[in-house]
Every structure is written in C-alpha cells, then in structure tokens.
Amino acid sequence: DTAVSQTPKYLVTQMGNDKSIKCEQNLGHDTMYWYKQDSKKFLKIMFSYNNKELIINETVPNRFSPKSPDKAHLNLHINSLELGDSAVYFCASSPAGRGQYFGPGTRLTVT
C-alpha cells in the first residue's frame, strides 16, 4: 500500500494551459505539503496544509493554488503554465512534530 501517492507521474503540457496534480495520503497525518525540485535538484517548500488550513506560502506565484478537499488529499492547481514551471513536484505528509514522508513525485514539462 502506497502511503503518499501522486497522480499523474508525468505531465507534459503547453504554455498557457491549466493543470492539476493530485496527492493522497493514507497515513492519517495532519499536515500535507507541496515541494518543487528544479533542474539542479534543489528542493523548496511551496505550501503546507494543516487540518485544511493553509499554513505556509513561500512566495509562490498566485498561479499556483493548493486545494484540500479533506485531510487525506492536497491537490495542486496551476494556471497559465510557464516554461519555468517545468520541474518535479513532490507531495509530502507528516504527523504533528515528526518527520515528513514524500510521494513519488510528478514530473511536469511545459513546452
């Protein structure tokens, strides 16, 4: 059983399109996160959600919007995609005060 899952695994799309990446965790964790890994493999936090409430937004463009329908899901919506959005996006979850568990990643390519 996959603890943190993401769909799709690969996403290729054109500039200007709107796309979504889904994340689900079956660990019962309270907090979920989205991270971006750029072409140089640098990982950076984008958002975190705690009990359906946004806690962190690290200067991410407002074209990116996280949406959490329930505690087990945190989806990432991206509007008007740009070339610079190409990256690997990781979802993660954690229980309060403990380590984070990462999903397999979604490789987004914008052409």
């Binding site: 493999k41 990781f90 380590g99 984070q100 990462f102 990643g105």
Partner: protein, 111 residues
C-alpha cells in the same frame, strides 16, 4: 531563513568503502531528516533525527543539535547506494514547518 550546507557535494567511492556525509545548519531545529534520492528520482526517508544517534543496517546518523551539525555514515557501500543524499531541517517553533533542504551530496559507488 535557516541555512543548510552539505559536504562534500560529490563523492565517488569503490564498492565496499565507508563514507561520512556532513550537514551543517545555522539555527536551532526541531526536525532534521536525511533522504536518499535514487536514480529514479524517488525520495526515500533514511532517518528522522533532530538529535542523538540512530542506526539502520549499514546506515547510521548522528545529530549534535547544540553544535548544529549532523553526520550520515554509510558502511560497506553498495552500488545501490548511489544517488543524492539530502539533509533537510525545520526550525524550532512548532506548527506546520516546511523542510529547508541542503543542496545534497551526489554519491557514486563504482563496482
């Protein structure tokens, strides 16, 4: 924000060798994790270790929180240990803190 520095940036070893990877951080932390990103891009949890020492098979880790560093030891390296090793921290203060990642150590184990 908190700074995380990892060393060395690159490391090439023969199978069977031992290695030590270092992570320095600039502030008090309440979370420190080591990850292995394998050649397929998967981020694998190695240790949640904000302080103390832990061991898991051929891997062990030590964090000296008062001196703001952590070490990851890999003994009897195998080719499957190749990949990028990341140290990531979250600052003390509670809440849904996203992890701040170092730039990683790229490890290549040659047969």
């Amino acid at each position: 924000g908190i700074q995380v520095e990892q060393s060395p940036p690159d490391l090439i070893l023969q199978e069977g060798a031992n290695s030590t990877l270092r992570c320095n951080f600039s502030d008090s932390v309440n979370n420190l994790q080591w990850f292995h990103q394998n050649p397929w891009g998967q981020l694998i949890n190695l240790f949640y270790i904000p302080s103390g020492t832990k061991q898991n098979g051929r891997l062990s880790a030590t964090t000296v929180a008062t001196e703001r560093y952590s070490l990851l030891y890999i003994s009897s390296s195998q080719t499957t240990d190749s990949g990028v090793y990341f140290c990531a921290v979250a600052i003390a203060g509670g809440g849904a803190d996203g992890l701040t990642f170092g730039k990683g150590t790229h490890l290549i184990i040659q047969p």
